[in-house]
Symmetry: D2
Subunit: 145 residues, 4 copies
Protein backbone atom coordinates (compact mmCIF):
# COMPACT_ATOMS: atom_id res chain seq x y z
CA UNK A 1 0.00 0.00 0.00
CA UNK A 2 1.32 3.38 -1.01
CA UNK A 3 0.59 6.37 1.21
CA UNK A 4 0.41 9.64 -0.67
CA UNK A 5 3.22 11.71 0.85
CA UNK A 6 1.47 14.95 -0.11
CA UNK A 7 -2.22 15.18 0.82
CA UNK A 8 -2.65 18.00 -1.70
CA UNK A 9 -1.31 16.14 -4.71
CA UNK A 10 -4.66 14.66 -5.79
CA UNK A 11 -6.26 18.11 -5.54
CA UNK A 12 -3.41 19.55 -7.55
CA UNK A 13 -3.68 16.87 -10.24
CA UNK A 14 -7.40 17.37 -10.62
CA UNK A 15 -7.18 21.15 -10.84
CA UNK A 16 -4.28 21.04 -13.29
CA UNK A 17 -6.14 18.54 -15.50
CA UNK A 18 -9.11 20.91 -15.53
CA UNK A 19 -6.84 23.85 -16.33
CA UNK A 20 -5.17 22.01 -19.22
CA UNK A 21 -8.58 21.54 -20.87
CA UNK A 22 -9.78 25.09 -20.09
CA UNK A 23 -9.60 26.94 -23.41
CA UNK A 24 -10.69 30.21 -21.78
CA UNK A 25 -7.71 30.18 -19.43
CA UNK A 26 -5.36 28.99 -22.17
CA UNK A 27 -6.53 31.74 -24.55
CA UNK A 28 -6.39 34.54 -21.99
CA UNK A 29 -3.08 33.39 -20.51
CA UNK A 30 -4.55 32.66 -17.08
CA UNK A 31 -2.02 30.59 -15.15
CA UNK A 32 -2.99 28.23 -12.33
CA UNK A 33 -0.26 29.22 -9.90
CA UNK A 34 -1.13 27.10 -6.88
CA UNK A 35 -3.82 24.81 -5.54
CA UNK A 36 -4.70 22.95 -2.34
CA UNK A 37 -7.91 21.29 -1.12
CA UNK A 38 -10.60 24.00 -1.30
CA UNK A 39 -8.12 26.67 -2.40
CA UNK A 40 -6.64 27.93 -5.67
CA UNK A 41 -4.65 30.86 -7.02
CA UNK A 42 -4.57 32.13 -10.62
CA UNK A 43 -2.78 34.96 -12.39
CA UNK A 44 -3.47 37.02 -15.53
CA UNK A 45 -1.89 39.99 -17.29
CA UNK A 46 -4.42 42.57 -18.48
CA UNK A 47 -4.21 43.22 -22.22
CA UNK A 48 -5.55 46.02 -24.41
CA UNK A 49 -8.30 43.73 -25.70
CA UNK A 50 -9.70 43.56 -22.13
CA UNK A 51 -10.48 47.29 -21.96
CA UNK A 52 -14.05 48.59 -21.70
CA UNK A 53 -15.41 51.81 -23.24
CA UNK A 54 -14.07 53.85 -20.31
CA UNK A 55 -10.49 52.63 -20.93
CA UNK A 56 -10.40 50.40 -17.84
CA UNK A 57 -10.35 46.62 -17.51
CA UNK A 58 -13.82 45.29 -18.33
CA UNK A 59 -15.59 44.08 -15.20
CA UNK A 60 -16.37 40.88 -17.06
CA UNK A 61 -12.68 39.93 -17.06
CA UNK A 62 -12.27 40.77 -13.37
CA UNK A 63 -15.22 38.50 -12.64
CA UNK A 64 -13.87 35.84 -15.00
CA UNK A 65 -10.50 35.75 -13.23
CA UNK A 66 -12.12 35.36 -9.80
CA UNK A 67 -14.52 32.78 -11.23
CA UNK A 68 -11.59 30.79 -12.62
CA UNK A 69 -9.91 30.67 -9.18
CA UNK A 70 -13.26 29.63 -7.69
CA UNK A 71 -13.71 26.86 -10.31
CA UNK A 72 -10.32 25.33 -9.50
CA UNK A 73 -10.81 25.66 -5.73
CA UNK A 74 -14.17 23.86 -5.76
CA UNK A 75 -12.84 21.10 -8.04
CA UNK A 76 -10.17 19.83 -5.68
CA UNK A 77 -12.16 17.00 -4.08
CA UNK A 78 -12.79 14.56 -6.94
CA UNK A 79 -16.43 15.07 -7.92
CA UNK A 80 -17.15 17.65 -10.63
CA UNK A 81 -18.45 20.93 -9.18
CA UNK A 82 -19.93 23.81 -11.16
CA UNK A 83 -20.87 27.39 -10.33
CA UNK A 84 -24.52 27.96 -9.46
CA UNK A 85 -24.34 31.66 -8.69
CA UNK A 86 -21.80 34.32 -7.84
CA UNK A 87 -21.52 37.98 -6.95
CA UNK A 88 -18.74 40.48 -7.27
CA UNK A 89 -17.90 43.95 -5.98
CA UNK A 90 -15.61 46.15 -8.07
CA UNK A 91 -13.40 48.16 -5.74
CA UNK A 92 -10.65 49.69 -7.90
CA UNK A 93 -10.02 49.87 -11.66
CA UNK A 94 -7.24 47.86 -13.32
CA UNK A 95 -5.14 49.05 -16.26
CA UNK A 96 -3.46 47.58 -19.33
CA UNK A 97 -0.34 45.71 -18.27
CA UNK A 98 -1.47 45.09 -14.70
CA UNK A 99 -0.75 41.60 -13.43
CA UNK A 100 -3.74 40.46 -11.38
CA UNK A 101 -3.90 37.57 -8.95
CA UNK A 102 -7.10 35.91 -7.76
CA UNK A 103 -7.11 33.62 -4.75
CA UNK A 104 -10.20 31.58 -3.92
CA UNK A 105 -10.76 29.83 -0.62
CA UNK A 106 -13.58 27.74 0.71
CA UNK A 107 -15.80 29.37 3.29
CA UNK A 108 -18.43 26.67 3.88
CA UNK A 109 -19.21 23.26 2.50
CA UNK A 110 -22.33 21.22 3.21
CA UNK A 111 -23.53 18.22 1.22
CA UNK A 112 -23.25 19.04 -2.47
CA UNK A 113 -23.00 22.80 -1.88
CA UNK A 114 -19.98 25.01 -1.33
CA UNK A 115 -19.31 28.71 -0.80
CA UNK A 116 -16.00 30.18 -1.92
CA UNK A 117 -14.57 33.69 -1.51
CA UNK A 118 -12.12 35.05 -4.04
CA UNK A 119 -10.14 38.28 -3.91
CA UNK A 120 -8.60 39.87 -7.01
CA UNK A 121 -5.43 41.78 -6.11
CA UNK A 122 -2.73 43.68 -7.94
CA UNK A 123 0.42 42.35 -6.26
CA UNK A 124 2.63 45.20 -7.51
CA UNK A 125 1.07 47.63 -5.03
CA UNK A 126 -0.99 45.09 -3.06
CA UNK A 127 -4.37 46.71 -3.64
CA UNK A 128 -7.66 44.83 -3.79
CA UNK A 129 -9.36 45.23 -7.16
CA UNK A 130 -12.46 43.07 -6.62
CA UNK A 131 -14.12 40.81 -4.07
CA UNK A 132 -16.08 37.77 -5.25
CA UNK A 133 -18.23 35.10 -3.62
CA UNK A 134 -19.35 32.00 -5.51
CA UNK A 135 -21.78 29.19 -4.76
CA UNK A 136 -20.91 25.78 -6.21
CA UNK A 137 -22.83 22.54 -6.52
CA UNK A 138 -21.50 19.06 -7.19
CA UNK A 139 -22.93 17.21 -10.19
CA UNK A 140 -23.77 13.77 -8.76
CA UNK A 141 -22.05 10.81 -10.38
CA UNK A 142 -19.44 12.76 -12.33
CA UNK A 143 -15.74 12.84 -11.60
CA UNK A 144 -12.97 14.79 -13.28
CA UNK A 145 -11.09 12.44 -15.65
CA UNK B 1 -36.48 75.35 -31.49
CA UNK B 2 -35.78 71.85 -32.70
CA UNK B 3 -37.67 69.01 -31.06
CA UNK B 4 -35.81 65.74 -31.11
CA UNK B 5 -38.07 63.47 -33.16
CA UNK B 6 -36.74 60.41 -31.37
CA UNK B 7 -36.40 60.74 -27.59
CA UNK B 8 -34.08 57.70 -27.60
CA UNK B 9 -31.57 59.08 -30.06
CA UNK B 10 -29.30 60.71 -27.44
CA UNK B 11 -29.26 57.47 -25.45
CA UNK B 12 -28.48 55.56 -28.60
CA UNK B 13 -25.63 57.90 -29.55
CA UNK B 14 -24.05 57.68 -26.12
CA UNK B 15 -24.25 53.90 -25.94
CA UNK B 16 -22.93 53.45 -29.47
CA UNK B 17 -20.01 55.81 -28.75
CA UNK B 18 -19.18 53.73 -25.69
CA UNK B 19 -19.46 50.53 -27.72
CA UNK B 20 -17.16 51.84 -30.46
CA UNK B 21 -14.40 52.40 -27.87
CA UNK B 22 -15.05 49.09 -26.03
CA UNK B 23 -12.16 46.84 -27.05
CA UNK B 24 -13.61 43.90 -25.11
CA UNK B 25 -16.82 43.96 -27.13
CA UNK B 26 -14.95 44.60 -30.38
CA UNK B 27 -12.56 41.71 -29.74
CA UNK B 28 -15.24 39.23 -28.68
CA UNK B 29 -17.65 40.26 -31.44
CA UNK B 30 -20.29 41.52 -29.01
CA UNK B 31 -22.80 43.60 -31.01
CA UNK B 32 -24.90 46.36 -29.46
CA UNK B 33 -28.19 45.44 -31.11
CA UNK B 34 -30.52 47.98 -29.55
CA UNK B 35 -30.67 50.65 -26.88
CA UNK B 36 -33.20 52.96 -25.23
CA UNK B 37 -33.11 55.03 -22.03
CA UNK B 38 -32.26 52.55 -19.24
CA UNK B 39 -32.33 49.59 -21.60
CA UNK B 40 -29.86 47.79 -23.91
CA UNK B 41 -29.53 44.56 -25.84
CA UNK B 42 -26.29 42.86 -26.93
CA UNK B 43 -25.48 39.68 -28.85
CA UNK B 44 -22.49 37.33 -28.97
CA UNK B 45 -21.65 34.03 -30.67
CA UNK B 46 -19.90 31.54 -28.37
CA UNK B 47 -16.53 30.42 -29.70
CA UNK B 48 -14.26 27.51 -28.81
CA UNK B 49 -11.91 29.85 -26.96
CA UNK B 50 -14.76 30.58 -24.50
CA UNK B 51 -14.98 26.97 -23.25
CA UNK B 52 -14.15 26.05 -19.65
CA UNK B 53 -12.51 22.80 -18.50
CA UNK B 54 -15.89 21.01 -18.53
CA UNK B 55 -16.41 21.82 -22.26
CA UNK B 56 -19.15 24.41 -21.59
CA UNK B 57 -19.14 28.19 -22.00
CA UNK B 58 -17.07 29.70 -19.18
CA UNK B 59 -19.31 31.44 -16.65
CA UNK B 60 -17.03 34.45 -16.92
CA UNK B 61 -18.19 35.05 -20.49
CA UNK B 62 -21.86 34.65 -19.57
CA UNK B 63 -21.34 37.23 -16.86
CA UNK B 64 -19.36 39.46 -19.22
CA UNK B 65 -22.15 39.47 -21.80
CA UNK B 66 -24.78 40.42 -19.21
CA UNK B 67 -22.39 43.01 -17.75
CA UNK B 68 -21.92 44.54 -21.20
CA UNK B 69 -25.69 44.94 -21.66
CA UNK B 70 -25.86 46.45 -18.16
CA UNK B 71 -23.03 48.90 -18.94
CA UNK B 72 -24.80 50.22 -22.04
CA UNK B 73 -28.18 50.40 -20.29
CA UNK B 74 -26.86 52.47 -17.38
CA UNK B 75 -24.94 54.79 -19.72
CA UNK B 76 -27.97 56.12 -21.60
CA UNK B 77 -28.54 59.29 -19.56
CA UNK B 78 -25.43 61.38 -20.21
CA UNK B 79 -23.32 61.07 -17.05
CA UNK B 80 -20.75 58.26 -16.95
CA UNK B 81 -21.96 55.31 -14.87
CA UNK B 82 -19.85 52.36 -13.76
CA UNK B 83 -20.62 49.00 -12.17
CA UNK B 84 -20.25 48.87 -8.40
CA UNK B 85 -21.34 45.27 -7.87
CA UNK B 86 -23.25 42.52 -9.62
CA UNK B 87 -24.49 39.01 -9.13
CA UNK B 88 -25.35 36.25 -11.54
CA UNK B 89 -27.15 32.89 -11.47
CA UNK B 90 -26.15 30.28 -14.02
CA UNK B 91 -29.27 28.38 -15.09
CA UNK B 92 -28.30 26.36 -18.18
CA UNK B 93 -25.02 25.66 -19.98
CA UNK B 94 -24.23 27.20 -23.37
CA UNK B 95 -22.29 25.48 -26.16
CA UNK B 96 -19.86 26.42 -28.93
CA UNK B 97 -21.74 28.12 -31.75
CA UNK B 98 -24.66 29.28 -29.58
CA UNK B 99 -25.79 32.82 -30.27
CA UNK B 100 -26.59 34.44 -26.94
CA UNK B 101 -28.56 37.63 -26.36
CA UNK B 102 -28.44 39.69 -23.17
CA UNK B 103 -31.06 42.33 -22.45
CA UNK B 104 -30.61 44.71 -19.53
CA UNK B 105 -33.35 46.91 -18.14
CA UNK B 106 -33.45 49.39 -15.33
CA UNK B 107 -35.26 48.29 -12.21
CA UNK B 108 -34.69 51.26 -9.88
CA UNK B 109 -32.82 54.53 -10.02
CA UNK B 110 -32.25 56.91 -7.13
CA UNK B 111 -29.70 59.71 -7.00
CA UNK B 112 -26.43 58.42 -8.40
CA UNK B 113 -27.38 54.76 -7.97
CA UNK B 114 -29.14 52.37 -10.34
CA UNK B 115 -30.17 48.72 -10.33
CA UNK B 116 -30.39 46.85 -13.63
CA UNK B 117 -31.56 43.31 -14.39
CA UNK B 118 -30.15 41.43 -17.35
CA UNK B 119 -31.22 38.08 -18.76
CA UNK B 120 -28.98 36.00 -21.02
CA UNK B 121 -31.07 33.94 -23.46
CA UNK B 122 -30.45 31.61 -26.35
CA UNK B 123 -32.97 32.85 -28.92
CA UNK B 124 -32.79 29.69 -31.04
CA UNK B 125 -34.81 27.73 -28.46
CA UNK B 126 -35.73 30.66 -26.20
CA UNK B 127 -34.17 29.29 -23.03
CA UNK B 128 -32.75 31.41 -20.24
CA UNK B 129 -29.04 30.75 -19.68
CA UNK B 130 -28.31 33.23 -16.88
CA UNK B 131 -29.94 35.91 -14.75
CA UNK B 132 -27.90 38.94 -13.70
CA UNK B 133 -28.46 41.99 -11.47
CA UNK B 134 -26.05 44.90 -11.44
CA UNK B 135 -25.67 47.98 -9.26
CA UNK B 136 -24.31 51.10 -10.98
CA UNK B 137 -23.08 54.42 -9.68
CA UNK B 138 -22.62 57.66 -11.58
CA UNK B 139 -19.16 59.24 -11.45
CA UNK B 140 -19.90 62.90 -10.60
CA UNK B 141 -18.75 65.47 -13.13
CA UNK B 142 -17.99 63.08 -15.97
CA UNK B 143 -19.94 62.77 -19.20
CA UNK B 144 -19.47 60.37 -22.10
CA UNK B 145 -17.73 62.24 -24.94
CA UNK C 1 -65.72 16.53 -13.28
CA UNK C 2 -65.40 19.97 -11.79
CA UNK C 3 -63.34 22.56 -13.60
CA UNK C 4 -61.75 25.09 -11.27
CA UNK C 5 -63.30 28.41 -12.29
CA UNK C 6 -60.30 30.31 -10.93
CA UNK C 7 -56.88 28.97 -11.95
CA UNK C 8 -55.31 30.94 -9.08
CA UNK C 9 -57.44 29.46 -6.33
CA UNK C 10 -55.12 26.51 -5.59
CA UNK C 11 -52.16 28.89 -5.39
CA UNK C 12 -54.13 31.14 -3.13
CA UNK C 13 -55.15 28.29 -0.84
CA UNK C 14 -51.61 27.02 -0.52
CA UNK C 15 -50.14 30.44 0.22
CA UNK C 16 -52.87 31.29 2.72
CA UNK C 17 -52.37 27.95 4.50
CA UNK C 18 -48.66 28.73 4.77
CA UNK C 19 -49.42 32.24 6.03
CA UNK C 20 -51.82 30.95 8.69
CA UNK C 21 -49.03 28.79 10.17
CA UNK C 22 -46.35 31.51 9.83
CA UNK C 23 -45.81 32.77 13.38
CA UNK C 24 -43.33 35.42 12.17
CA UNK C 25 -45.94 37.03 9.94
CA UNK C 26 -48.67 36.64 12.55
CA UNK C 27 -46.49 38.24 15.26
CA UNK C 28 -45.29 41.14 13.11
CA UNK C 29 -48.71 41.79 11.59
CA UNK C 30 -47.60 40.95 8.05
CA UNK C 31 -50.73 40.50 5.93
CA UNK C 32 -50.81 38.36 2.79
CA UNK C 33 -52.74 40.78 0.62
CA UNK C 34 -52.79 38.93 -2.69
CA UNK C 35 -51.36 35.88 -4.40
CA UNK C 36 -51.29 34.27 -7.86
CA UNK C 37 -49.10 31.55 -9.39
CA UNK C 38 -45.52 32.74 -8.95
CA UNK C 39 -46.60 36.04 -7.43
CA UNK C 40 -47.47 37.39 -3.96
CA UNK C 41 -47.98 40.68 -2.15
CA UNK C 42 -47.60 41.34 1.58
CA UNK C 43 -48.01 44.42 3.78
CA UNK C 44 -46.58 45.49 7.14
CA UNK C 45 -46.74 48.59 9.33
CA UNK C 46 -43.37 49.61 10.79
CA UNK C 47 -43.38 49.76 14.58
CA UNK C 48 -41.02 51.34 17.08
CA UNK C 49 -39.62 47.93 17.97
CA UNK C 50 -38.31 47.64 14.38
CA UNK C 51 -35.95 50.63 14.70
CA UNK C 52 -32.18 50.25 14.50
CA UNK C 53 -29.59 52.28 16.41
CA UNK C 54 -29.79 55.08 13.83
CA UNK C 55 -33.56 55.52 14.39
CA UNK C 56 -34.53 53.99 11.03
CA UNK C 57 -36.23 50.69 10.20
CA UNK C 58 -33.75 47.86 10.72
CA UNK C 59 -32.59 46.44 7.38
CA UNK C 60 -33.37 43.00 8.77
CA UNK C 61 -37.09 43.80 8.77
CA UNK C 62 -36.97 45.24 5.24
CA UNK C 63 -35.31 42.01 4.11
CA UNK C 64 -37.78 39.92 6.12
CA UNK C 65 -40.78 41.58 4.47
CA UNK C 66 -39.38 40.98 0.97
CA UNK C 67 -38.43 37.44 1.96
CA UNK C 68 -41.99 36.78 3.16
CA UNK C 69 -43.43 37.88 -0.21
CA UNK C 70 -40.84 35.67 -1.92
CA UNK C 71 -41.75 32.67 0.26
CA UNK C 72 -45.43 32.93 -0.64
CA UNK C 73 -44.72 33.51 -4.33
CA UNK C 74 -42.51 30.42 -4.67
CA UNK C 75 -45.01 28.27 -2.73
CA UNK C 76 -47.89 28.63 -5.17
CA UNK C 77 -47.32 25.46 -7.20
CA UNK C 78 -47.93 22.63 -4.69
CA UNK C 79 -44.45 21.35 -3.79
CA UNK C 80 -42.75 22.94 -0.78
CA UNK C 81 -40.09 25.47 -1.80
CA UNK C 82 -37.54 27.09 0.50
CA UNK C 83 -35.09 29.97 0.14
CA UNK C 84 -31.54 28.97 -0.76
CA UNK C 85 -30.03 32.45 -1.00
CA UNK C 86 -31.10 36.05 -1.41
CA UNK C 87 -29.72 39.53 -1.80
CA UNK C 88 -31.10 42.94 -1.04
CA UNK C 89 -30.28 46.55 -1.83
CA UNK C 90 -31.42 49.23 0.62
CA UNK C 91 -32.45 52.32 -1.35
CA UNK C 92 -34.30 54.59 1.09
CA UNK C 93 -34.90 54.51 4.85
CA UNK C 94 -38.32 53.73 6.31
CA UNK C 95 -39.77 55.32 9.46
CA UNK C 96 -42.04 54.34 12.34
CA UNK C 97 -45.64 54.22 11.14
CA UNK C 98 -44.79 53.65 7.48
CA UNK C 99 -46.93 51.05 5.78
CA UNK C 100 -44.68 48.99 3.50
CA UNK C 101 -45.75 46.69 0.70
CA UNK C 102 -43.57 43.96 -0.81
CA UNK C 103 -44.48 42.34 -4.11
CA UNK C 104 -42.59 39.28 -5.31
CA UNK C 105 -42.76 37.91 -8.82
CA UNK C 106 -41.12 34.99 -10.53
CA UNK C 107 -38.31 35.81 -12.92
CA UNK C 108 -37.13 32.34 -13.96
CA UNK C 109 -37.99 28.77 -13.07
CA UNK C 110 -36.07 25.68 -14.16
CA UNK C 111 -36.38 22.24 -12.63
CA UNK C 112 -36.40 22.58 -8.85
CA UNK C 113 -34.93 26.09 -8.90
CA UNK C 114 -36.65 29.48 -9.07
CA UNK C 115 -35.59 33.13 -9.05
CA UNK C 116 -37.96 35.75 -7.65
CA UNK C 117 -37.67 39.53 -7.54
CA UNK C 118 -39.34 41.49 -4.77
CA UNK C 119 -39.67 45.25 -4.40
CA UNK C 120 -40.45 46.92 -1.07
CA UNK C 121 -42.41 50.14 -1.60
CA UNK C 122 -44.05 52.77 0.56
CA UNK C 123 -47.42 53.22 -1.19
CA UNK C 124 -48.17 56.56 0.52
CA UNK C 125 -45.60 58.34 -1.67
CA UNK C 126 -44.82 55.45 -4.03
CA UNK C 127 -41.10 55.30 -3.34
CA UNK C 128 -39.00 52.16 -3.55
CA UNK C 129 -37.40 51.30 -0.21
CA UNK C 130 -35.57 48.09 -1.14
CA UNK C 131 -34.99 45.70 -4.04
CA UNK C 132 -34.63 41.98 -3.33
CA UNK C 133 -33.83 38.87 -5.37
CA UNK C 134 -34.26 35.38 -3.96
CA UNK C 135 -33.29 31.91 -5.16
CA UNK C 136 -35.64 29.08 -4.15
CA UNK C 137 -35.35 25.32 -4.35
CA UNK C 138 -38.12 22.73 -4.12
CA UNK C 139 -37.74 20.05 -1.45
CA UNK C 140 -38.47 16.83 -3.36
CA UNK C 141 -41.40 14.76 -2.11
CA UNK C 142 -42.93 17.37 0.16
CA UNK C 143 -46.21 19.19 -0.43
CA UNK C 144 -47.85 21.93 1.60
CA UNK C 145 -50.67 20.35 3.69
CA UNK D 1 -1.19 63.28 26.81
CA UNK D 2 -3.17 60.17 27.60
CA UNK D 3 -2.55 57.04 25.55
CA UNK D 4 -5.56 54.80 25.29
CA UNK D 5 -4.40 51.56 26.95
CA UNK D 6 -6.87 49.56 24.86
CA UNK D 7 -6.99 50.43 21.15
CA UNK D 8 -10.37 48.68 20.91
CA UNK D 9 -12.10 50.67 23.61
CA UNK D 10 -13.34 53.46 21.32
CA UNK D 11 -14.73 50.87 18.92
CA UNK D 12 -16.39 49.11 21.80
CA UNK D 13 -17.93 52.31 23.15
CA UNK D 14 -19.33 53.27 19.77
CA UNK D 15 -20.83 49.85 19.08
CA UNK D 16 -22.31 49.57 22.57
CA UNK D 17 -23.87 53.05 22.26
CA UNK D 18 -25.44 51.99 18.98
CA UNK D 19 -26.67 48.75 20.54
CA UNK D 20 -28.24 50.56 23.50
CA UNK D 21 -30.37 52.62 21.09
CA UNK D 22 -31.22 49.65 18.82
CA UNK D 23 -34.82 48.79 19.62
CA UNK D 24 -34.76 45.81 17.24
CA UNK D 25 -31.93 44.17 19.15
CA UNK D 26 -33.42 45.12 22.52
CA UNK D 27 -36.82 43.70 21.55
CA UNK D 28 -35.49 40.46 20.08
CA UNK D 29 -32.96 39.92 22.88
CA UNK D 30 -29.95 40.22 20.57
CA UNK D 31 -26.85 40.68 22.76
CA UNK D 32 -23.70 42.41 21.53
CA UNK D 33 -21.22 39.91 22.92
CA UNK D 34 -17.94 41.34 21.65
CA UNK D 35 -16.53 44.01 19.37
CA UNK D 36 -13.20 45.17 17.97
CA UNK D 37 -12.26 47.47 15.07
CA UNK D 38 -14.01 46.03 12.01
CA UNK D 39 -15.36 43.05 13.95
CA UNK D 40 -18.43 42.23 16.06
CA UNK D 41 -20.23 39.26 17.56
CA UNK D 42 -23.91 39.03 18.51
CA UNK D 43 -26.11 36.31 20.01
CA UNK D 44 -29.83 35.51 19.91
CA UNK D 45 -32.09 32.75 21.15
CA UNK D 46 -34.70 31.63 18.60
CA UNK D 47 -38.28 31.95 19.88
CA UNK D 48 -41.56 30.48 18.68
CA UNK D 49 -42.56 33.85 17.21
CA UNK D 50 -39.60 33.57 14.79
CA UNK D 51 -40.97 30.45 13.06
CA UNK D 52 -42.01 30.47 9.40
CA UNK D 53 -44.87 28.47 7.86
CA UNK D 54 -42.64 25.40 7.56
CA UNK D 55 -41.92 25.38 11.33
CA UNK D 56 -38.30 26.55 10.94
CA UNK D 57 -36.66 29.86 11.84
CA UNK D 58 -37.75 32.50 9.34
CA UNK D 59 -34.90 33.39 6.99
CA UNK D 60 -35.62 37.03 7.73
CA UNK D 61 -34.43 36.56 11.31
CA UNK D 62 -31.29 34.71 10.24
CA UNK D 63 -30.52 37.60 7.90
CA UNK D 64 -31.38 40.13 10.62
CA UNK D 65 -28.96 38.56 13.09
CA UNK D 66 -26.11 38.59 10.56
CA UNK D 67 -27.06 42.13 9.55
CA UNK D 68 -26.90 43.24 13.18
CA UNK D 69 -23.36 41.86 13.58
CA UNK D 70 -22.43 43.60 10.31
CA UNK D 71 -23.92 46.91 11.50
CA UNK D 72 -21.84 46.87 14.69
CA UNK D 73 -18.67 45.77 12.88
CA UNK D 74 -18.84 48.60 10.32
CA UNK D 75 -19.61 51.19 13.02
CA UNK D 76 -16.39 50.78 14.95
CA UNK D 77 -14.41 53.61 13.35
CA UNK D 78 -16.28 56.76 14.40
CA UNK D 79 -18.21 57.84 11.29
CA UNK D 80 -21.73 56.48 10.88
CA UNK D 81 -21.90 53.63 8.38
CA UNK D 82 -25.06 52.09 6.95
CA UNK D 83 -25.81 48.99 4.90
CA UNK D 84 -26.08 49.55 1.16
CA UNK D 85 -26.67 45.95 0.10
CA UNK D 86 -26.24 42.43 1.41
CA UNK D 87 -26.65 38.83 0.41
CA UNK D 88 -27.20 35.67 2.40
CA UNK D 89 -27.06 31.92 1.81
CA UNK D 90 -29.20 29.69 4.03
CA UNK D 91 -27.28 26.49 4.73
CA UNK D 92 -29.13 24.70 7.53
CA UNK D 93 -32.43 25.29 9.34
CA UNK D 94 -32.56 26.55 12.93
CA UNK D 95 -35.16 25.50 15.50
CA UNK D 96 -37.01 27.04 18.46
CA UNK D 97 -34.67 27.32 21.42
CA UNK D 98 -31.48 27.35 19.35
CA UNK D 99 -28.92 29.89 20.47
CA UNK D 100 -27.37 31.44 17.36
CA UNK D 101 -24.17 33.47 17.15
CA UNK D 102 -23.28 35.78 14.28
CA UNK D 103 -19.73 37.06 13.84
CA UNK D 104 -18.99 39.77 11.29
CA UNK D 105 -15.51 40.70 10.13
CA UNK D 106 -14.23 43.22 7.67
CA UNK D 107 -13.00 41.87 4.36
CA UNK D 108 -12.13 45.07 2.49
CA UNK D 109 -12.36 48.78 3.14
CA UNK D 110 -11.72 51.53 0.61
CA UNK D 111 -12.75 55.14 0.94
CA UNK D 112 -16.29 55.29 2.26
CA UNK D 113 -17.05 51.67 1.31
CA UNK D 114 -16.62 48.46 3.28
CA UNK D 115 -17.31 44.77 2.74
CA UNK D 116 -18.05 42.56 5.75
CA UNK D 117 -18.58 38.81 5.98
CA UNK D 118 -20.79 37.36 8.70
CA UNK D 119 -21.35 33.72 9.61
CA UNK D 120 -24.34 32.56 11.64
CA UNK D 121 -23.47 29.49 13.70
CA UNK D 122 -25.16 27.31 16.27
CA UNK D 123 -22.41 26.95 18.90
CA UNK D 124 -24.04 23.92 20.59
CA UNK D 125 -23.04 21.65 17.69
CA UNK D 126 -20.84 24.13 15.83
CA UNK D 127 -22.73 24.05 12.54
CA UNK D 128 -22.97 26.95 10.12
CA UNK D 129 -26.57 28.06 9.61
CA UNK D 130 -26.05 30.97 7.19
CA UNK D 131 -23.33 32.91 5.39
CA UNK D 132 -23.78 36.65 4.81
CA UNK D 133 -21.86 39.40 3.02
CA UNK D 134 -22.73 43.05 3.46
CA UNK D 135 -21.63 46.26 1.72
CA UNK D 136 -21.53 49.38 3.89
CA UNK D 137 -21.12 53.04 3.09
CA UNK D 138 -20.16 55.86 5.43
CA UNK D 139 -22.56 58.82 5.63
CA UNK D 140 -20.24 61.85 5.28
CA UNK D 141 -20.23 64.29 8.16
CA UNK D 142 -22.05 62.13 10.67
CA UNK D 143 -20.55 60.56 13.76
CA UNK D 144 -22.14 58.25 16.32
CA UNK D 145 -22.97 60.31 19.44
Amino acid sequence: MVIDPDPSSASRSQAHALHARDLTCQTLGIALTDVAPGWASVEMRVTKSMMNGHGKTHGGYLFLLADAAFAYACNTYGPVAVAQSAQVAFLRPAEVGDVLVAEAEERSRIGLHGIYDATVRRPSDDVVVAEFRGHSVILPGRRTP
